[in-house]
């Protein structure tokens, strides 16, 4: 009985917060647009009895998904999202790994403080932080003013409203998700392993590549997924920091919903996005599983 409840709680949670919303979105994606409230047909109506239900199901079709293939905007947006997410994940890894490494090397009494510093930005609103990046990156922003003042550049750089600004925004926002799992892996690393590697003839750098990196692999993988997955569907950052040429699926989705009021197509976009995300999510979970097995 106890066991049943323990299992039932997470499943109920998944059912209410994930599966039911997903079924609703899936249903909308199979519907047609209409000038009504809500802006699609058919709607589920139980008063019609069995025949009504039958009519409801026969009105559902894959038309919206076909539509997505007819316009190259959509697959280009998916592709460009994947590209931006991959690139910013790699950037976050290159920035985050040294930070995590430094934290793990720091003296014990410093570590909680460093950890706080990594988490601290989360205590301010995400939107405010993105807006402040606009203030930094704009043509009259702090960065350009500083570079002009030092004389490195004579003309202000155009960064805001380009893809560069999007990379900066994503890396900045999701960096803690990269740092924390890597730090957790590095912190567990037994220092005597590095000594053993050196004893067996490795230089410090070789020991880093042959021991430290492989042993933090799970942290790296976890961090990469934790950055990649939200970055792929990111909407706020590309729309605030990106320009008109920045193509990301999150933005397309938003426009379909709110500018075109085409809920069915928007839902189809969302369903496909979810399909794309399911692959890395499953890979991520498998990685976690493997790690847990290895630790036993």
């Amino acid at each position: 009985m106890r066991r049943f409840f323990l299992i039932a709680v997470p499943y109920a949670w998944l059912l209410v917060l994930f599966l039911i919303p997903f079924v609703i979105v899936l249903k909308i994606s199979l519907s047609d647009t209409a000038l009504s409230i809500p802006p699609y047909t058919p709607t589920l109506d139980f008063s019609g009895g069995w025949a009504g239900l039958k009519a409801f199901f026969s009105a559902l079709d894959l038309e919206n998904f076909w539509f997505l293939t007819s316009d190259d905007l959509y697959w280009k947006a998916y592709l460009s999202s994947v590209w931006i997410a991959v690139a910013s994940t790699l950037l976050a890894l290159f920035v985050g790994y040294p930070i995590a490494y430094g934290m793990a090397q720091a003296r014990d009494e410093w570590r909680p403080t460093l950890m706080m510093l990594v988490i601290l930005p989360f205590w301010t609103s995400f939107l405010i932080r993105v807006y402040s990046w606009m203030g930094i990156l704009s043509q009259e922003g702090f960065l350009n003013q500083f570079l002009l003042w030092t004389g490195i550049i004579s003309e202000p750089l155009i960064i805001l409203n380009t893809n560069t600004a999007v990379y900066v925004g994503i890396v900045y926002t999701y960096l803690p998700f990269m740092i924390l799992p890597i730090y957790a892996a590095l912190e567990k690393l037994d220092a005597s392993l590095l000594e053993a590697a050196e004893d067996l003839g490795c230089s410090r750098i070789q020991a880093f590549w042959l021991v430290t990196v492989p042993l933090s692999k799970n942290g790296i993988i976890a961090g990469c997924f934790l950055v990649f997955i939200p970055a792929l569907g990111e909407f706020v950052i590309p729309s605030l920091l990106g320009g008109s040429q920045t193509l990301m699926i999150g933005k397309v989705l938003w426009e379909e919903f709110f500018n075109n009021r085409d809920w069915p197509v928007a839902s189809a976009v969302a369903v496909i996005l979810l399909m794309i995300l399911i692959i890395p999510i499953i890979l991520f979970q498998r990685n976690e599983q493997k790690q847990r097995e290895a630790e036993q």
């Binding site: 392993l193 000594e195 053993a196 050196e198 004893d199 067996l200 021991v211 042993l215 036993q296």
Partner: protein, 374 residues
């Protein structure tokens, strides 16, 4: 033709492989190694023995290059090693915690050091195979360290440190987790390897029997200092302090007052007990307070007073420890002191000659006891 005795430490022309010269190591204000001077010679099997925390691992780590030396110098083949990084020393260490690479298989763990030397593949292969065979790990070569038992892990660590055939091999409690049989086999294996390769071994152990079996010399340490360095027989037969006598093997310690007579000392230890005589070259100081250390197996136990024995005391059997091949009798003297005597069990249990509360005589010769000042 007699085989020359291996005793380079007695030969003034011999150059030591390792020289500790007044080495001190401090962690903060804690002194882990205290002004230690020691020579270890090539082809030696040198055992470090001592209680937990006395600085054995610290000594090893200084040799391997993981601890800096606070004061003094360590020479390896006559060269100061203070500035040589660990990966440039012809020294390999087997870590007390094994330090196996968890992401590599047993095979790759053993091959790790060989691969760093950029040896050809088939040579690496052959060497790893040899090591696997030696440590009887062939069946486990594809497993990861977390998939094998503690004793198997220890063998992997041993194989990994042996693989590079270093000039100096440091073994920090290499056999602690093995069962007795395997431990003895591995001990002989180690001695065999040592003979074949001529590698110098420094081994830390908590097991005195192990130290006695494998070592050419044994160093007994306490609180960062060397108390005695000698051959196993020397340590056992001629300990230089009560501490060493007590640390190695079983011993009776009798505290008394010595007076010089003839070729040794007469030691009076209690009212109404005869003075005990021991031959010695040692000279006691003014106070003449001294200790006699007598190994239980050198004490003869008998029902009748033995004729012509130099040292005889009487007592009652307080306890008997049956050890299979031997029995140790704990005999209580009239003074309340307990002396231990060991005798071989040549007869069956039911026909043993002594039992509890028997009155017995203990006797030993004048060379059995060692006179110690402290």
């Amino acid at each position: 033709m007699t085989e020359p005795v291996f005793a380079p430490w007695d030969d003034p022309n011999e150059k030591p492989l390792i020289e500790f010269k007044n080495v001190t190591k401090r962690f903060g204000d804690f002194t882990a190694i205290d002004d230690l001077t020691l020579d270890i010679y090539e082809r030696e099997f040198f055992a470090l023995l001592g209680p937990s925390g006395c600085g054995k691992t610290t000594m090893m780590r200084m040799l391997a290059g993981f601890e800096t030396i606070t004061e003094g110098t360590i020479l390896l083949s006559g060269k100061n090693i203070a500035r040589v990084p660990p990966n440039r020393r012809a020294v390999n260490m087997m870590f007390q915690s094994y330090a196996l690479f968890p992401h590599l298989t047993v095979w790759d763990n053993i091959a790790f050091g060989l691969k760093r030397e950029k040896l050809p593949k088939d040579q690496i292969e052959a060497r790893v195979q040899e090591m696997l065979k030696l440590t009887r790990l062939e069946k486990f070569s594809k497993r990861k360290p977390h998939q094998i038992s503690g004793g198997q892990r220890q063998r992997v660590a041993l194989a990994r440190s042996l693989a590079k055939a270093p000039k100096l091999l440091l073994l920090d409690e290499p056999l602690g987790a093995l069962d007795k049989k395997l431990r003895q086999d591995t001990q002989f294996e180690l001695m065999d390897i040592q003979e074949k390769t001529g590698t110098t071994f420094v081994i830390v152990t908590h097991d005195q029997e192990e130290a006695m079996t494998v070592a050419s010399r044994v160093a007994v340490m306490d609180e960062g200092r060397l108390i005695q360095v000698a051959t196993p027989a020397g340590i056992y037969e001629m300990p230089n302090t009560v501490y060493v006598a007590d640390f190695i093997g079983d011993v009776n310690i009798i505290e008394g007052h010595g007076t010089k007579t003839g070729d040794g000392y007469d030691v009076t230890f209690a009212e109404g007990q005869p003075a005990l005589h021991a031959k010695t070259d040692a000279q006691l100081g003014e106070a003449a307070r001294c200790y006699l250390a007598i190994r239980p197996e050198k004490v003869t136990i008998s029902a009748e007073r033995p004729d012509g024995a130099v040292n005889v005391v009487q007592g009652t059997i307080h306890d008997i420890a049956y050890l299979g091949n031997l029995s140790t009798y704990h005999v209580e003297l009239p003074t309340g002191q307990i002396l231990k005597a060991q005798a071989a069990n040549t007869r069956r249990l039911s026909r043993r000659s002594f039992t509890w509360e028997d009155k017995v005589w203990l006797s030993w010769t004048d060379t059995a006891a060692v006179v110690l000042e402290r």
